[in-house]
Amino acid sequence: MEIFHHDLNIDFLGMRKVSIVISAILLIVSVWAITVKGLNYGLDFTGGILIEVNYEQPVDVGDVRGALEKAGFEHAVVQSMGGTRDISIRLQPPKATDNKESPDQVAGEVSKRVLAALQAGNPGVKLAQPPDFVGPEVGQELKTSGIYAAIVVIIGIMFYLWMRFEKRFAFAAVVSEIHDTVITVGIIALVQREFDMTVLASVLAVIGYSINDKVVVFDRVRELFRLTRKAETPQILNRAINNTLSRTIITSVFTAITMASLWLFGGTAVHGFAITMLIGILVGTLSSIFFASPLLLWFGVSKTDLMPVTKENPELARRP
């Protein structure tokens, strides 16, 4: 079975002006979403108190929010935990006071007050389990270590590609990788999905996935440059994309299938992970086709960059 005919020759490079502009717009929107709208950080990162309550009767999330606002909890994040009777409520930690209460005691008190506020409107509600809480300091540390992880990974990959390919390939791969990561995170920020620990893990996995894709295309570019005697760079790039197109799409589809099943059946704990990965796969695939190679052209990659070094050996050149 073949989805794409092997003689396919779409002029992807010809669309490079359009695709680069679209990428640029997406990047700008993403950066705007991340910086201005901000990420909807989960409890792992913000620190705070998580209270899970269980209602006897189905309840509307809006009503719960209203009841909390009336009681003075204005910035509570109220979410349904699948079903209409289990609700999770996330609160920012109360302002640090001078009293010597441990965060543990504070969490206990806040959960009591929240429960009281909810019971005023609907007596059939109880705590599902003792409140969870995370110190804000812990969250800050996670955020920093997440950013470090991303930087370390990107630098490591760039170094490897520099060694195996050539510096222009390394730069193009890393720029498109950053492009993919920023847009993925941007989409999460745009739709205000909760950004928690598993989403962060997923974003880091997207970095790995996206580079995988680029390496396959770039490998073909290198091969074609070495095989072809005379060809314009755009033609080579186009052929490389077309030759690998089937693989790019099939692998993405296979990976997307597994993530979709994780999303459908894995439960709330891995929802964020699966969705982020799906977004990342989509963005990564598109950028492998439309963004990475134009970048390569733009960086001025040429046949001479890739010829084996021995051929440039002057000793050899001087021989008759």
């Binding site: 990974v153 598993t198 995988n212 692998t251 296979f254």
Partner: protein, 619 residues
């Protein structure tokens, strides 16, 4: 096929078998059980087995099996609900002589266990339990040390008769102010001669005095912080053992934090009480006029004395009067005696403790002195439906040694094995120094939620796998089926390695497994596409297979190495969920290199290799 050597077939075959064998234990679900371990002189034997069976029958709690394994007894139950009831009933019935703990008993057959095949331990999110992250109060540690140096410097100055205006705490050290520079220089000599842990500087105060500033060296502080954490980890471990939790996780995280995970525990309040227990330490003189064995037998002890027991149950009669208590102890470390080379414990007391110890030892050389470790654990019992708070005190004699000479501030205890010396020094420190800790993160996962997560994870893995298997078989036909076999084995080998290494399985780990399934097929996609290309270019089927594998190998390697780098980043920098995910991804990518290249090549060679006149390839 000639280009596929025989030893590789063997390698592939052996890896397949090992994968199946070491992944197998995970198919055996652990069974809820209660573990009973004896304290002190109590024994785990047939008699106890009968007693336990009787107790459970009396409470009409159904159990499945009672077995004795080495020095512990396991009572197996049908489900967690019965298990909880059973452990509550047994805890009451067996009292203090035994520690009753919730446990998951393995159902893996003996022969598998014998070759070291175990199931993966489950993380809290799959098993249920409580998670705490505790932070050590570093300021309290610093202050305690400052206070110690303050006392020291003051008593040194008094001893050397150097007149001073004031000695006070300042910054991260101690400041002493003198009237004349001559006094200060004298003090400088005295103090710096005594302490190598201090950075001593001098200055003039605004009031015209001569100041001497002694700051604790940063590396000394760092070492101190680290040892505080180690002590606290040990203390917590002892307390958790008392709580009766099997397989707790207690480990340092970062510089100042400790993670405590208690699988199976649901009552956070109880757990917190035990973790927050107060321990202290006292030095007592022996009463040599009483025969301890006799006293233990008859129960007759003089009014000024008390009967204690050592850890291994030996009776000791000590005087009630306390010589020195734990808060006067500054430091304890294990090492070796400089003259004899035997293991010892070096103890340092503060100045008041030193004075008392000096007074006592001058009069009692040749007699024995005991160290008593006292732990107070708050206990809550339900009496008539009301919570009654009380505390349980356990007192044990850690060590009972002969006083060899007169000593004060610093002394050493010898006559111990190296192991004993280390334990004693840790107990001495944890009894006295344990810095206060705050719980900075807490979460509870119910057992049913854990069960639910396992079920969902399983379903996601199976469905994801099935869909990819079908898709690959449709798209690449025979080569797709070969890739499918490799994919199934990739899952098995991944699970086998995770089990053998002892990686804890968590929900993010399962997500990693599912992701690996999707991505490891990539190598096969690359190979199959290459083979198709070669066929199109007019190569013979066998040549196409050979060229396909050869040409695809480079790109597979490059793509996977970059991917492994990404996984490595997740492991080294991340913690918790991210780390678990990274480890899974790393192992999965590594195994997929073997399964999707070497294994499929072997199978393909086996299918097509002998058919010299192969006309078409099903790809």
């Amino acid at each position: 096929m000639s280009d596929f050597p025989r030893w590789k077939y063997w390698l592939v075959g052996i890896v397949m078998v090992l994968g199946i064998v070491y992944a197998a234990p995970n198919a055996f679900r652990p069974q809820p059980a209660v573990q009973i371990v004896a304290n002190r002189e109590a024994k785990v034997d047939q008699a106890l087995q009968k007693q336990v069976a009787g107790d459970l029958d009396k409470a009409s709690i159904p159990f499945q099996d009672i077995s004795i394994e080495k020095d512990r007894m396991l009572v197996r139950f049908a489900n967690t609900e019965v298990q909880l009831r059973g452990s509550d009933a047994l805890r009451v019935a067996l009292g203090d002589d035994y520690t009753v703990a919730l446990n998951l008993a393995t159902t893996v057959p003996q022969w598998l266990q014998a070759i070291g095949a175990h199931a993966m331990p489950l993380g809290l999110d799959l098993q249920g339990g409580v998670h705490f992250l505790m932070a050590v109060d570093q300021d309290a540690v610093l202050q305690k040390q400052q206070q110690r140096y303050l006392d020291d410097i003051r008593s040194t100055l008094r001893q050397k008769q150097v007149p001073y205006d004031v000695v006070s705490l300042s910054g991260d050290g101690v400041q002493a102010v003198f009237k004349t520079s001559a006094d200060r220089d004298k003090a400088l000599d005295a103090v710096s001669g005594d302490n190598t842990d201090l950075n001593i500087t001098t200055s003039r105060t605004p009031g015209g005095g001569y100041a001497l500033h002694a700051a604790i060296k940063p590396d000394v502080l760092d070492k101190l912080a680290q040892s505080t954490i180690t002590q606290n980890v040990t203390t917590l471990r002892n307390r958790v053992n008392a709580l009766g939790v099997s397989e707790p996780l207690i480990q340092q995280q970062g510089q100042t934090r400790i993670v405590v995970e208690l699988p199976g525990v649901q009552d956070t309040a109880e757990a917190k009480r035990v973790l927050g227990a107060v321990a202290s330490l006292e030095y007592h003189a022996n009463d040599e006029s009483v025969n301890p064995q006799e006293a233990a037998r008859t129960g007759n002890v003089p009014p000024d004395d008390r009967l204690y027991f050592t850890k291994d149950g030996q009776p000791v009669v000590l005087k009630k009067r306390v010589i020195v208590s734990g808060d006067e102890l500054v430091d304890a470390s294990s090492g070796y005696d400089q003259q004899t080379g035997l293991p010892n414990v070096n103890v340092t007391l503060n100045s008041t403790g030193a004075r008392k110890m000096l007074d006592f030892t001058t009069q009692n050389v040749g007699k024995r002195m005991g160290v008593v470790y006292i732990e107070r654990t708050p206990v809550v019992k339900i009496v008539d439906g009301k919570e009654v708070h009380s505390s349980k005190t356990t007192e044990t004699v850690l060590n009972n040694a002969v006083i060899q000479g007169v000593f004060g501030k610093k002394f050493q205890t010898t006559g111990l094995t190296q192991q004993e010396a280390q334990t004693l020094s840790l107990m001495l420190r944890s009894g006295s120094l344990a810095a206060p800790m705050d719980i900075v993160q807490q979460s509870v996962i119910g057992p049913s939620l854990g069960q639910d997560n396992i079920k969902k994870g399983e379903r996601a893995v199976i469905l994801g796998l099935a869909l990819v298997l079908v898709a690959a078989a449709i798209y690449y036909r025979l080569f797709g089926l070969v890739a499918d076999i490799a994919l199934v084995f990739n899952l098995l080998i991944l699970v086998a390695i995770m089990s053998a290494v002892g990686v804890t399985l968590t929900m993010p780990g399962i997500a990693g497994i599912v992701l690996t399934l999707g991505m490891s097929i990539d190598a096969n996609v690359l190979i199959c596409e290459r083979i198709r290309e070669e066929l199109r270019n007019g190569s013979t089927p066998l040549a196409s297979i050979r060229a396909g594998y050869e040409k695809a190998w480079h790109v597979i390697l490059d793509a996977n190495v970059t991917h492994l780098l990404a996984a490595l980043g997740l492991i080294t920098v991340g913690s918790g969920a991210i780390k678990g995910f990274g480890v899974t991804l790393f192992i999965g990518i590594s195994t997929s290199l073997f399964t999707s290249v070497t294994m499929t090549h072997a199978i393909t060679a086996l299918i097509h290799g002998r058919r010299k006149k192969l006309k078409t390839l099903w790809v």
